[in-house]
Symmetry: C2
Subunit: 268 residues, 2 copies
């Protein structure tokens, strides 16, 4: 890391590896931000601290060689691939970074401790890599909002940039977890995107009406899907909305077999 070019930006793309075209777009955007003199760092680390008991930490796909090729093709300069023992010598984090407000809805209640693990590992990566800019995908919209909040509250000298979700031709958001899907589940999974579009374009101001209609459609179109949550929240505070009278976000987490898929859409 001592070889950074003085005065040129260091841009970090934190990932858990198993890279797909969504990550590729993040790395390409990082390359643009860094310019030719800057440094693009991609971290590959499946962070145990953000997985709960019974979640898919062990099953989470690892694909180091392929990840390195993708990073190089997308314009990365450095791949940072620490081991769990390097990141957590005591086996688990002894100091946590805890976001106190935006983590209360959506994935917060259904994945207790998840965002503490995310904030903690990203704080560590920020100190290790010392980027000027860091990029995150909007598929993990709540994560992006929480990390922005962390950076503001703790005064990290880092700019956080969000990048649009990259989708398959049928609308399914790209995710490393899509490879868990059986062919039948894969066929039904794009309904998550379809019902989110439906929520966005629904004429009612009432969140409950839009959500009820979406639940019906999802049950009909994707009988293999089991909703973890389907919510409409204030886009800034992540607080649940009854009336859609401000910039909002509709977000869903839906299980298809072992795969828990998330997606979201901005409203207004």
């Amino acid at each position: 890391m001592a070889a950074y070019q003085a005065g040129s930006p260091v841009v970090l793309v934190p990932t858990m590896g198993a890279l797909h075209d969504g990550h590729g777009a993040l790395v390409e955007a990082a390359r643009v931000r860094a310019g030719t003199a800057g440094t693009v760092v991609v971290s590959l680390f499946v962070n145990p601290a953000q997985f709960g008991p019974g979640e898919d930490f062990d099953a989470y796909p690892r694909a180091f060689a392929d990840d390195c090729s993708r990073c190089e093709a997308a314009g990365a300069d450095v791949v940072f691939h620490p081991s769990a023992a390097e990141m957590y010598p005591a086996g688990r984090p002894g100091v946590l970074v805890v976001e106190q407000s935006l983590a209360q809805t959506l994935c917060g209640p259904t994945r207790p401790g998840h965002f503490d693990g995310v904030c903690t590992v990203v704080a560590k990566l920020f100190h290790l890599v010392r980027p000027d800019i860091s990029l995150f995908g909007k598929k993990d919209y709540q994560q992006l909002a929480i990390l922005r909040h962390m950076v503001t509250e703790l005064n990290f000298p880092i700019e956080i940039v969000g990048a649009e979700t990259v989708r398959e031709p049928d609308g399914l958001a790209m995710s490393s977890r899509n490879r868990y899907l059986t062919p039948e589940e894969r066929e039904q999974a794009p309904w998550v995107r379809k019902v989110l579009l439906g929520i966005r374009d629904h004429p009612s101001r009432q969140a409950a009406a839009r959500l009820a209609s979406a639940r019906e459609q999802l049950a009909a179109g994707a009988p293999l899907g089991r909703i973890d949550y389907l919510q409409i929240v204030d886009r800034n505070s992540m607080a649940e909305l009854d009336e859609i009278d401000r910039p909002a976000l509709a977000a869903a987490a839906v299980f298809f077999g072992k795969a828990r898929l998330i997606d979201n859409i901005e409203i207004g």
Copy 2:
């Protein structure tokens, strides 16, 4: 902060102001570490987030003009004196840094949330000032241990240096809170140091025996003192010890009227 000399160390001394000779020694040590080309920054900030309800946040002494003179005399280059509104625009921290192990004993249980507030504000100061080195006094021994742990766990690129406690001629540890003492309390307060010396030099290996003897002496010598805690802990883990069979720390917090005084001594 843009005027730091490239390649020369930036050394930070975080304080709550109301500086005394103990702080002076810290700033002088910082000057030595920084050298002539480096930068010594002293922060003055009475951090509301580390005071609990009913504690002395409002009463805590403020002495900005005198603090500036002391900083200059001791060799500081920069005084950083943010307002509470600058540090906590939302009124209170929205993201906390939480140390999970060393904060369980001594001041931890009697000041719930205190060390979360300390870790959070120090993380903020580290990001704002970006020091290479930061100095803390050993009077707040547990705080020093917790901040070392925070720096290691979160990979802050910062060296933490502890400095010896500076004492009045009669042994009382210097503290901004000593000015709360009535003349009678001031006369009895050095007994805290005396009983800590007694604990260190006591022949028994059993912590209970040493502590019982110390409690007796304190009651006799300083009847105005009310013990908040008096403990012997493992110097690394801060866990309470029954037998003194490893590097230990004896630490006390004693109320004299409104003033809660702390002190400690290394054993072994």
